[in-house]
């Protein structure tokens, strides 16, 4: 039996979410979203560039408070998700988080890349 995985799409790349408790993950992401909503940026362009990284960092920090010795995300941006995996995407225009259980949503632009294992 194959188990499904959870992914988050940031900056056109999929990162594996290593925490299995999905409600907890969503709570963390909402907290991270709230943090970045309160962050001021010098302008819209730099905001667009920095938001995915700041969101990622904020989620990491929140998770570290709960589970200091476990990583929240996989290190590499990968694209080896499969049908049935949970894919979380963040719309930084509308500042909303989407969660799809049935594979990658069609409207998400994910960069197809070769996976390099180091």
């Amino acid at each position: 039996m194959t188990t499904s995985s959870t992914w988050i799409v940031l900056d056109k790349m999929c990162y594996r979410v290593l925490e299995n408790d999905l409600p907890l993950v969503m709570e963390l992401f909402h907290k991270a979203m709230s943090d970045v909503l309160n962050t001021s940026y010098p302008d819209e362009e730099i905001r667009r560039f920095q938001l995915p990284h700041d969101f990622y960092d904020a989620a990491l920090l929140h998770y570290a408070r709960i589970s200091p010795s476990n990583p929240l995300f996989g290190f590499y941006g990968l694209n080896n998700y499969k049908e049935g995996d949970t894919v979380i995407s963040v719309d930084f225009e509308k500042m909303k988080i989407h969660c799809e259980i049935a594979g990658i949503p069609q409207d998400i632009d994910v960069r197809r890349q070769e996976i390099v294992v180091l």
Partner: protein, 513 residues
């Protein structure tokens, strides 16, 4: 394969041949950041010492904190060769020296019964100060030969464009070293074993290149000393285009920013010939003709660090802008906290902050770090969490890292050192004067200290043309980490076609004989 294993492989397979080639005269080693110039030079010094134990050899450096690295490299090579090190015959000398440490200038002065001058005796700082007093020494005495070989590391830092520092059209530090060398062959007294390594893009003093002409002047054909090969096909000029330290996309970003490729008015400095780009490890599509589109690709095989292929979070190269200094340093502290406390990265040897502004600007950062229980170290100071050591006797000029502390260094101090995570702060200094090529080169030096990730940080917004350049570069590298395109708007202010210049002189020489 780990980086150390990669480097060990190089020791055996690639560098040995170049290191064991002992030139019969001057030799120049030109290499991009992280290409292993220091390693090669150390190996060369060790090979010469092992094979000619009677020779007097000096290895000359300028950045104090790289001393240990040089010593380790030489020691390691000598152990590999099964030879003992005689420190009376192979000396590691700071270019200048101080009251308690020998230096090339100081050694030459003492050998000639001249009182050596110190930093307080010159109105100029750093290498310029040394150039100033070397000039005085050359005027004062005729230097007698003392060495059989001198190897100069970080050679780009000891050349100056300003004629006030020149000694009859020559670079005084180099000329002082050259004058202290014994001729290789008494029949050709001008041929002496001066070997120097440099990277023109790491020059933070000037855009002068340590070419044969710049160093030796044009007297007696000395400017042509680097043309061709020595007996045994030993090259007079070595070019190292592969970087072992810095991942490919970071090298590409650093070159693009330092040369101002995306500058609104056009490229500011850099090669204008395809052949010259190829020597730096790039392939070029398009022509260097006014208003043409040029695409530069840095093939991953020219960047041996395996992280070159990394695509993930954080990106290898990233850029943060802030509205104020307090926000900048709060965010930086947060990033450092994340690395140390969450990702369990030990700060020593791994986390480096390089500031382009002034040391006093770091007060806000150190306060933030203290509040978060993170130790910091300013190179040369007596201990961690000390911003200024009042008693100079307690200073540690050769220390760059301290246990369990993040190092916060100026560009000058950071030279020759490396870390996995590098944060460059104070980009606003360049934004305020974007045509200043020395500032851009400083940023290049700072960025290429990384063995992994680099984050640039500054204050301002993207309407600033310099920041806009960086944003464009970041955007392009997100799409393709190995190539960049730009509009070539015409000859840059500082065209750097080094080999073409040397070859042109070669052609002139061939035609005239």
């Amino acid at each position: 394969m780990s980086r150390d294993k990669e480097l060990n492989k190089i020791d055996i397979c690639v560098l040995n041949k170049l290191a064991s080639d002992i030139p019969q005269g001057p030799q120049r080693v030109r290499g991009i950041a992280g290409s292993g110039k220091t390693r090669l030079l150390c190996q060369k010094a060790a090979y010469m010492h092992a094979n000619h134990p009677d020779w007097d050899i000096a290895y000359v450096f300028f950045t104090q904190s790289v001393f240990q690295d040089i010593q380790n490299n030489i020691e390691r090579t000598l152990i590999g060769l099964g030879k003992e090190w005689n420190p009376e015959k192979l000396r590691i000398l700071h270019a200048w020296g101080s009251y308690d440490r020998q230096g090339l200038y100081r050694y030459i002065c003492q050998a000639h019964g001249v009182l050596p001058l110190g930093v307080k005796d010159t109105p100029h700082k750093f290498a310029k100060g040394l150039a100033f007093i070397s000039n005085q020494l050359l005027e004062q005495i005729t230097i007698q030969p003392l060495f059989d070989a001198i190897l100069i590391d970080e050679g780009q830092d000891m050349v100056f464009k300003e004629t006030e520092f020149h000694y009859y059209g020559k670079q005084p530090i180099y000329w002082m070293a050259y004058s202290a060398l014994r001729p290789v062959d008494p029949q050709n007294p001008e041929v002496r074993r001066l070997i120097w390594a440099y990277d023109e893009y790491q020059n933070i003093n000037t855009m002068e290149i340590p070419s044969a002409k710049a160093i030796f002047g044009e007297d007696k054909g000395l400017d042509k000393l680097l043309l061709g090969n020595y007996k045994g096909n030993i090259p007079k000029s070595i070019i190292m285009k592969d970087s072992y330290r810095t991942p490919g996309p970071v090298i590409l970003a650093a070159h693009a920013i330092c040369m101002g490729m995306l500058n609104r008015e056009g490229m500011i400095a850099g090669p204008t010939q395809k052949a010259e780009w190829e020597l730096l490890g790039y392939t070029v599509t398009g022509a260097f003709q006014k208003n043409s589109r040029v695409t530069l690709e840095r093939p991953p095989e020219n960047s041996r660090n395996p992280l070159t292929h990394f695509q993930g979070m954080p990106p290898l190269f990233s850029f943060n802008l802030f509205s104020s200094e307090s926000e900048e340093y709060r965010k930086l502290t947060q990033n450092i906290y994340k690395l140390i406390r969450i990702q369990k990265i030990p700060p020593k040897n791994h986390i480096l902050v390089v500031y382009l502004n002034k040391k006093q600007n770091m007060d806000l950062l150190t306060e933030n770090l203290k509040q978060n229980g993170i130790s910091f170290y300013f190179p040369g100071e007596s201990d961690v969490n000390i911003t200024h050591t009042s008693d100079y006797r307690q200073k540690k000029p050769r220390t760059f890292w301290e246990h369990d502390a993040v190092t916060i260094a100026s560009v000058n101090q950071a030279k020759g050192n490396e870390a996995d995570f590098v944060f460059v702060v104070g980009l606003d200094v360049i934004a305020a004067d974007p045509m200043n090529i020395q500032s851009r080169n400083s940023l290049f030096v700072a960025m290429t200290r990384t063995k992994g990730w680099v984050t640039l940080m500054g204050i301002g917004d993207t309407t600033d043309p310099f920041y806009h350049e960086i944003i464009q570069i970041w955007d392009m590298l997100k799409e393709d980490p190995f190539s960049l395109s730009f509009e070539y708007r015409g000859k840059p202010k500082y065209p750097l076609d080094v080999e073409i210049d040397e070859n042109q002189r070669h052609l002139d020489l061939t035609n005239s004989t």
